[in-house]
Symmetry: C2
Subunit: 221 residues, 2 copies
């Protein structure tokens, strides 16, 4: 139990840090697009409404790029973050479930781009196998997962099936050797400790908006 | 600028708090499902890998339900959180874009349930208007947004269109009187200050998994 908790604490810290690195990367990409060459932690904080002390702490290990009074070199810091996030090389992804959600994810901007490649969708429905997504991602047979993962060097699996099928897909992904799984099915999976599982709970976003609307109604927002 | 920042700070705090309330709600729903009647902050923390000091702080305003040594009454605390999140009454939602993503969201578990109701999808494509999602949500004409919002008392708009159409949909939602908007298009929208906008960036989840895989490769995970 104690070991479980330590693992989870590390996961949470890792998720928070990674989330911030991802945000910095987006900010730097924007600055690069408007041809800005350097940026200070204070300007990053001001411009993107971030915490400058947290920025300095997070980027302390990239000290070589931070010159007092000048700040960071935008392009070099961006490249560094890309390496830190492990997206300086291409990671192949397979999506289980070629329904609306799987098809939407296969063609989602940013899922098949800058470090990620959707190798295939897989589905149990023979009527779907052989089709492609609008962007041309092929739908292959669910029974071929193991072969696809091995042949295409897939590292990440996405679960986009119905809640009742999600656990079976999870087990197939683990059996095929995947160590990182993203789950969109709104169900609690029984997870294996050595496999990184990230659950995406889209409903939380609606609850956030409801909380805001209630604040407006109550006159506290 | 100062006012902008204050607004954003409050937004960030509100998002963090709301996110935790949503997590507590899920934990309590689980405990209720296994017929557990009371729970202490320490047990909540231990069982769901949360921070017990943070739990006590977040739930301090619900003190009447927390009896020292006994803990919270699960069902009553759950009802309280539901009221706090403003989902004790039904909020109507409209989705713009009846492509794969819009259709997937219309039928997504938790989006049309417990406090939320998807009133309709809207689309500019005449070929899609008149259809329904698998769960029976109707696709109406995009030009009818204002009427749909008024007639069905819609409070939340979801943007599920392509990036190039997202800003126009945002403006239509604001013009129709919506104050809370969820954006799935991977694009930075020019936002109006009085409208709550929540951007969902799905790519961040893949970057998190990549960061984990890189840690395994480097031997630091």
């Amino acid at each position: 139990m104690a070991q479980n908790r330590t693992q989870t604490d590390r996961d949470v810290v890792s998720e928070l840090t990674t989330g911030r690195l991802s945000v910095y990367l987006r900010c730097l990409s924007y600055l690069e697009s408007i041809h800005q060459e350097t940026v200070s932690s204070a300007e990053l904080a001001e411009r993107f409404h971030l915490n400058s002390a947290q920025i300095r702490k997070d980027l302390a290990c990239f000290g070589e790029f931070g010159t007092r009074g000048v700040g960071y070199n935008v392009s070099r810091l961006k490249e560094h973050l890309i390496r830190e996030l492990g997206i300086d090389r291409r990671r192949n992804v397979v999506i289980a479930g070629a329904g609306n959600l799987g098809m939407a994810l296969a063609d989602y901007g940013g899922f098949n781009d800058r470090g990620f490649r959707i190798a295939a969708l897989v589905d149990v429905d023979p009527a779907k196998v052989g089709r492609t997504s609008r962007a041309g991602i092929p739908v292959l047979s669910y029974s071929d997962i193991k072969r696809i993962v091995a042949e295409q060097n897939v590292e990440i699996g996405i679960i986009a099936v119905t809640p009742d099928a999600a656990q079976e897909v999870y087990e197939s992904f683990v059996a095929a050797g995947l160590n990182a799984i993203l789950n969109f099915a709104p169900v609690q999976l029984r997870a294996h400790g050595h496999v990184k599982l990230k659950n995406v709970d889209l409903r939380i976003n609606l609850e956030l908006l409801s909380f805001y609307l209630k604040g407006v109604e109550d006159g506290t927002a």
